[in-house]
């Protein structure tokens, strides 16, 4: 299963996974390697955007509005303000990764705390905590994000908070399901019987078993975070223009699709390539490192 690990009760039997030598992973998985390189490329372009970008990403060249790709000086064309699309895409990688990682960090941390608390507390506390998680899940994350933006105001940081908070629900649920599973397993009970302190049990046995599946979720949720943030731009309440954010560029460019498709198409392609690369990397990592699979094997 891919996009929803831990969301389903784990099958009673886990299929055997052959132990493979780690070193050859890159050889055995050419697509993974390629995707990893692409993702790394985005990280590099984000880090060194000022070096690579031919223009200031917010410089408006009024003489070259809506220039098509391959115009002199503007390899990928310009947008409706005469801003260079290539430069904006390079700088945009910063915002895409920043929003993706930032929002997911908030969501994962919040989900970890809430999910662990719910999974470990038991009794009435667990019941109440789970109902809170349920209610976060019952509110669609985009609508939750819209409400948070309405309260917090706008800007990249606010978008990160809003999307992050909206992601807490799904993470919490995953974590809690994993905690429940681990708690039910014999070794935890045994550890408890051996008189190990409660915190030690959590730290040594539960946390590691929860964090791995969580890490796998992260790659998938990064995509979701970036997509939700671009949806906010579509609704006119996302990242502040003229920030070179891909979601904003796609959203602004959509009004020109009929005659200047590159305005939305170029950042759209950048976003698609990044998201595809991330999900291939995520799959690869999961298949290699998922402790659930390893448990079955070892």
């Amino acid at each position: 299963m891919t996009l929803l690990d831990g969301a389903t009760p784990a099958p009673a039997t886990v299929p055997p996974v052959r132990r493979r030598r780690r070193l050859t992973m890159f050889v055995r998985r050419p697509f993974f390697t390629l995707a990893l390189l692409v993702a790394a490329g985005f990280v590099v372009s984000a880090a060194f955007a000022p070096v690579f970008a031919p223009w200031d990403p917010t410089y408006q060249d009024i003489g070259a509005m809506m220039a098509p790709p391959a115009t002199a000086g503007h390899l990928l064309g310009t947008d409706s303000y005469g801003q260079d699309i290539l430069s904006r895409i390079l700088f945009g990688a910063r915002y895409a990764l920043g929003i993706g990682l930032g929002a997911v960090a908030i969501g994962a941390l919040g989900g970890l705390v809430l999910g662990m608390a719910a999974g470990l507390a038991g009794g009435r506390t667990e019941w109440v905590l789970m109902r809170i998680v349920d209610s976060i899940l019952a509110l669609p994350s985009l609508i939750l994000a819209v409400a948070f933006i309405a309260i917090l105001g706008q800007g990249v940081d606010k978008v990160i908070y809003a999307v992050g908070v909206a992601l807490i629900g799904p993470f919490a649920r995953t974590v809690r399901a994993d905690v429940m599973q681990v708690r039910a397993q014999l070794f935890v009970e045994a550890a408890g019987l051996m008189g190990l302190a409660w915190l030690t049990v959590v730290w040594r046995h539960i946390l590691p078993n929860v964090v791995y599946p969580l890490a796998v979720q992260v790659t998938i949720r990064i995509s979701e975070a970036i997509l939700v943030s671009s949806s906010l731009s579509f609704l006119g309440i996302g990242v502040t223009p003229p920030t070179p954010d891909w979601g904003l560029m796609i959203s602004e460019g959509r009004a020109f699709v009929s005659f200047a498709p590159w305005m939305a198409g170029m950042p759209g392609a950048a976003l698609a390539i990044l998201l595809i690369a991330l999900s291939i990397v995520g799959d690869g990592i999961r298949e290699e490192f998922d402790p659930k699979m390893q448990r079955g094997g070892s």
Binding site: A138, R173, I276
Partner: protein, 316 residues
Amino acid sequence: MFRFIAGKVFQTLFVLFLVSVASFTLLKLAPGDPIEIALGNEYSEEAHQDMLAELGLDRPVVEQYVTWLADFVRGDWGTSYTARADIFTYAFVEALPVTLTLAVFALGLAILIGVPLGVLSAVKKDTLWDAGSAAFALTGTAFPSFFLGIVLIWVFGVKFAMFPVMGFVAPWEDFWGGLYHMVLPAFTLSTYFMAMIVRLTRANLVEALESPYIAAARARGEPGWRVVWVHGVRNILMPLVTIIGLQLGVLLQGAVLTETVFSLPGAGQMITNAVLNREYGIVQAGIMMTATLFVLVNLAVDLAYPILDPRLRPSR
């Protein structure tokens, strides 16, 4: 059994209560009020205060909430502030069926295309077919749905003029007309699910095809298609049902964008517009509907597990 059902009902109501408090609080924390927006360029402080008082929006927030709750549970969903739309009619009779139709068509399309692609991927594992369907599935999730929708409108609606680009036709009144109008929006909304289903199907089927009982079926000499479609695909039912329950929220938020792009008067657009216009009553009604739906579907999923997988018994 009675205890079990009563517990579930209580749990559901408690979640709905939490959701209603949360959405009311969030919206009241947001600056601006519906009258100020509605007055537009005719704003004056006198008219503003007058209308607020008229609509009871000048009362304490807690009182407003309690009044809303009391009315709501008695079936009085109220009216919107300026347009005076009856919220029950708008939200439940008009908007919800549109979104449900869109969701059902999108899910149907996702299953109809996703499962065969996933099967193909699994059966022809590690070939070009496999890579191709993976690429197709991945690309679908990588574009924001509003962008995909607009591109589809211009390409298949205007350039090739194959499908209508807007509007809702109720399939219970005109099935084929409804279907025809739903092609582009349902496809737009389905891509995310389609991708998930392709990957889900592939992963589970690959695993299943290596299991002893499949080998046994093959040994019995059952035809290949039967082995795959009957014995193999049975394995993906449970995960499939699970995602439908869990990802309902994703479906609804995709619906917000798809509905706007294709001018479908559904609940997703309704809630978003209402949040932006501070139409508290509509937001509450909309959130209550979607939350109830979410809770009920997940309840149904819980109940369906034992049927789909006898190894699992209902948990409390």
